[in-house]
């Protein structure tokens, strides 16, 4: 294999048969190129899906009350369920080990005014833990803290868009803004990477809003994160327990799906994962089909090349070449060409990805890239396939009697 003479023969033959070399090389290089692009696209779609959902903590659970649709425990159906502060306390006590962060939520909308600018926005009144549950990024100032909560202070964390709309060029931090006629001090600004609309929201302490709305203890929902060490099964088991206990507490029939709704991120995430899983299987399946097409292409060209070289093989044999030398010559040449052009295809595809990949950042398609080991494996498979595809005709050619090969006049 490392005989200098045979490599000289090979380079000589490559140099003097440029079209043949190009045809073989092109089919391999092109196959690898398409394969890399395909796998990268699938990967980009997966990245896109994941980034869509990475916005919130992936271990979050949202609880919202609804209306019962079954009569149960002496209550009529169509009863509206109301969550209260003590539901939060109850969950905290009952699931000490299961939850990490918990926050009540009130959903209100308000008209806001600063100087002459006005606008209508939705407000979420929450506990300080809500920042972690929603992964809210505060770029200026701070989020709501326990002090705000204890003293029910009229403070607000506003979205970037709200700040732009109301304050224009001014720095909103520390300024007072009017929500439905009440003055709130802006303590922070948040951004949301995934969603411009979320930046049109406002956060305020939940106690403040409960006071404003008649000193109530009612809440519109509960958000929590479960113990982050839980795997999917444990997380689902926890949310089932949570659901059962809350249903019992609010006297909702166990089979009633609309009395209380628990939306578990783990569930949604597993659905998405299985979707992108299917996507990657499709990618692999199509990739295999491309590989097969490439192999058939190489096989074809190998048969053609050996057909073309039959006479040369006859001459070489008449001059004393043994069959083994012929096979070695033909196969080493084809392996050299397929490997080289495979890596050229690989190089081009990864090069294009390196340039284009970072530019691709639409929600559905993020940073297309491909695992190098997969592509390397594919290249090796293609080269081996080329070898096998060439082996049979090469052996056949090497065993043709030279007289037959020489008679093969063209």
């Amino acid at each position: 294999m490392f005989d200098k003479d045979i490599w000289q023969e090979i380079f000589h033959s490559i140099k003097n048969n440029k079209l043949r070399t190009f045809l073989t090389g092109f089919s391999v290089g092109w196959g690898i190129f398409i394969l890399v692009m395909l796998l990268a696209s699938v990967n980009g779609m997966q990245n896109g899906f994941h980034s869509q959902f990475n916005d919130d903590a992936t271990n979050s659970i949202f609880i919202r009350p609804g209306t019962t649709n079954k009569a149960y425990a002496g209550f009529e159906k169509d009863r509206k369920i109301q969550l209260r502060n003590n539901d939060i306390e109850y969950i905290k006590k009952s699931f000490t080990d299961d939850y990490e962060h918990i926050s009540g939520r009130m959903f209100k909308s308000t008209s806001a005014r600063y100087k002459s600018e006005t606008g209508s926005y939705s407000i979420q009144a929450v506990h300080p833990d809500h920042q972690i549950i929603e992964k809210t990024i505060v770029t200026e100032g701070r989020y709501i803290n326990m002090n705000d909560l204890m003293s029910s202070s009229k403070v607000a964390v506003i979205g970037r868009k709200v700040g732009e709309d109301l304050f224009k060029e001014e720095d909103p931090i520390g300024k007072f803004v009017e929500f439905n006629g009440l003055l709130f001090r802006v303590i922070g600004i948040f951004i949301d990477e995934g969603d411009d609309n979320a930046e049109r929201g406002i956060y305020a302490p939940i106690t403040t809003y409960q006071k404003i709305y008649g000193n109530t203890d009612e809440i519109d929902g509960i958000a929590l994160t479960y113990n982050s060490s839980y795997d999917l099964t444990k997380a689902l088991e926890f949310s089932t327990r949570l659901e059962n206990i809350l249903k019992r507490r609010h006297k909702i029939a166990p089979e009633d799906q609309s009395g209380i709704r628990i939306w578990n991120y783990a569930q949604a995430f597993s659905d998405i994962s299985s979707f992108t899983g299917v996507l990657s299987y499709i990618g692999i399946a199509v990739g295999i089909l491309i590989l097969i097409a490439g192999i058939v292409g190489i096989g074809n060209i190998m048969v053609f090349i050996i057909k073309e070289r039959t006479k040369e093989i006859g001459i070489r044999k008449a001059l004393g070449a043994v069959p083994g030398q012929i096979i070695k010559l033909v196969l080493l040449e084809s392996v050299f060409i397929t490997a080289l052009s495979g890596f050229i295809g690989l190089f081009f595809a990864t090069g294009i990805l390196a340039v284009i990949g970072p530019m691709m950042n639409s929600p559905a398609f993020t940073n297309p890239s491909v695992s190098f080991s997969i592509v390397l494996t594919a290249t090796i498979i293609l080269v081996l396939a080329g070898l096998l595809a060439g082996l049979i005709p090469a052996m056949k050619a090497a065993n043709i009697k030279p007289i037959v090969a020489l008679r093969d006049d063209k």
Binding site: K4, D5, Q8, E9, H12, S13, N16, N17, K311, E312, G314, I315, R316, K317, A318, L319, G320, A321, V322, P323, G324, Q325, A398, N399, K401, P402, I403, L406, D409
Partner: protein
């Protein structure tokens, strides 16, 4: 040098069998220049192919330089060809992407001769056929006569025991044919054993012995007075 006894060979053509050689007895001494003549289909090329181990015999025995040639597999045949025989073909059979010198050096490559020595030897034999200046040219840049002289240089480069020429002048005009025959005679003068298959009487007359084949048997085998090709050039 060559000894053949009761040689038979037939080819299968579909369901029919074509009996080409029907019991040939024939021997060649060292230094002979033998013309094998016969019309098309007489079996002369088949005989040469068997002598050249390019084809197998069906029946009979063949001894070359004291070595019985039998039970040949491809590897063994290739080694014998490389060691004992040089070929010159009607259609030259040069490798078209190799230069004249590389073509001449090829049998030496299969004899595992080192690269430098190969080149030296190839140049030496090209010089002998008068084509040293054409060493770097491709076959497509050479005339028919030049191609055949390169082919003869290639056959001689391996320093074979026997040179086998199958219609060496068949694709050449008469002037070039005589030049090639002149070359073959000179090689023979150096003591090399040469067999030439031809159907042209003037070419046969330039050999020292004519073996006449007809329908697969030798009908005539006579020594003749050699006509020197140089007189006609």
């Amino acid at each position: 040098m060559i000894k053949i006894e009761n040689l038979h060979k037939s080819y299968k053509m579909g369901s029919n069998s074509l009996h080409v050689l029907k019991g040939i007895n024939f021997s060649v001494e060292e230094g002979e220049l033998v013309a094998i003549m016969g019309s098309s289909g007489s079996g002369k090329s088949t005989l040469l192919n068997i002598l050249g181990m390019l084809d197998n015999l069906d029946e009979g025995s063949y001894t070359l330089d004291g070595v019985p040639i039998k039970d040949l597999n491809e590897t063994k045949a290739a080694n014998y060809r490389n060691k004992f025989l040089g070929f010159v073909f009607q259609s030259f059979n040069l490798i078209n992407y190799k230069s004249a010198m590389e073509n001449v050096a090829l049998p030496l490559y299969y004899q595992k001769v080192g690269r430098k020595e190969r080149q030296e030897k190839a140049l030496k034999y090209l010089d002998q056929v008068g084509l040293k200046e054409w060493a770097t040219h491709l076959p497509s840049e050479l005339s028919g006569g030049q191609k055949q002289r390169v082919a003869i240089a290639r056959a001689m480069a391996a320093e074979p025991k026997v040179l086998l020429a199958d219609e060496p002048t068949g694709a050449l005009d008469s002037k070039t044919s005589y030049e090639v025959m002149d070359l073959i005679q000179k090689i023979n003068d150096q003591g090399n054993t040469i067999l030439v298959v031809t159907h042209e009487p003037d070419i046969a007359d330039m050999c020292k012995r004519i073996v006449h084949l007809k329908d697969g048997v030798i009908v005539e085998d006579k020594k003749i007075k050699q006509v020197r090709a140089a007189e006609h050039v």
